[in-house]
Symmetry: C3
């Protein structure tokens, strides 16, 4: 068994910005040489989230942002805002409900995503941010055939 | 340490359909011989979800579908729909918020679910689908006592 | 590779009560001696949840409870309530959407949380409850340098 990790560094734009991490996660899983196990994608932040769905503009730039604004509006009063005055109370609530962590099985050396299933980082803060997303692979490496 | 995997194949009905996977997950964990570790249940799809709660009809056939329709209505405009015309924009948004992945500790050879906590696959698409849910167990197998 | 587990026992108050588990999770990870891997925090219950965000009162005692009441109101009709008459249909729906499980990478012997990211148990039931939260660590322990 082995663990392998890479960090994906990204610079984001405020509002709801979706960034496709699928290829970078695939590359990390390939380099890990893990054949069977799990990969955990994690954003160490309280105003962003990791989700997975079809990475197409209708969904990522319109439907998900609209749903977030509908159920967690930016313009209502937030206790977080009264205390900290940083204008991102809605960002914290949205991140709490979407979550920072996604765990995917690794099978035959690949993350077992469906055809229409991409991994998206969602920036939810109201300021541009630097983010370091962690990709942690845990599992069994291939047994060497020779020896 | 070891990994073990089974795939649960199901044929679903459209709308919000809940299918109880608890026994099949328990069977997979038992066959894995893993004593301590984690089990990851994952649907490789962008219009379904894995959740856990009490599998009783009031919740699964009424309250969860009602909540989904209340916060992610089928009848509003979706950017996904404008581009793809497949009528399931709401399904993608619902799947994004509920999530495709559930990780549960394995203790003494069993998934550590509570008494009123069952594992449910939720079909969220607007068409009947064939689904292959992945159950991946990672952990330590029992140490053989003899030898 | 190794697994290590502790159970955090808590007695809760009804309504939406947030309890900060960060230090107890950190202590469990430290005792596990796992250097690289993952930690899974899991509540074996259908009326509570594990989330992560900034543990400050504005968010935890006002914004998250307000969001839950806005999107999953206590006062509407629930099928669960009609069948079981225990007054907590909203609790089950809220727990289903927030989820009982959080997986975090372990790096250099510590859970890889961000600075403003604490781990919170959320009691969602309408009665005081005793809860046993599971903290399961899976990964590689440090290789001893000497010997």
């Amino acid at each position: 068994m082995a663990t392998y990790r890479e960090t994906i560094s990204i610079d984001t734009k405020p509002g709801v910005q979706a960034i496709d991490l699928t290829e970078r996660v695939a590359s990390t899983v390939a380099k890990s040489r893990v054949q069977d196990g799990v990969v955990c994608i994690f954003t160490p932040s309280s105003t962003s989230a990791i989700v997975t769905n079809e990475f197409e503009p209708g969904l990522m730039t319109e439907d998900i942002p609209n749903a977030l604004e509908r159920i967690f509006p930016e313009g209502i009063e937030y206790g977080h805002q009264r205390r900290w005055q940083d204008g991102n109370g809605h960002s914290h609530v949205r991140a709490t409900f979407l979550g920072p962590s996604l765990t995917i099985p690794v099978i035959d050396g690949r993350a077992a995503l469906g055809t229409w299933q991409q991994i998206a980082f969602l920036e939810l803060d109201n300021k541009p941010r630097h983010r370091d997303v962690i990709v942690q692979v845990v599992g069994e490496t291939a047994t060497p055939r020779a020896k």
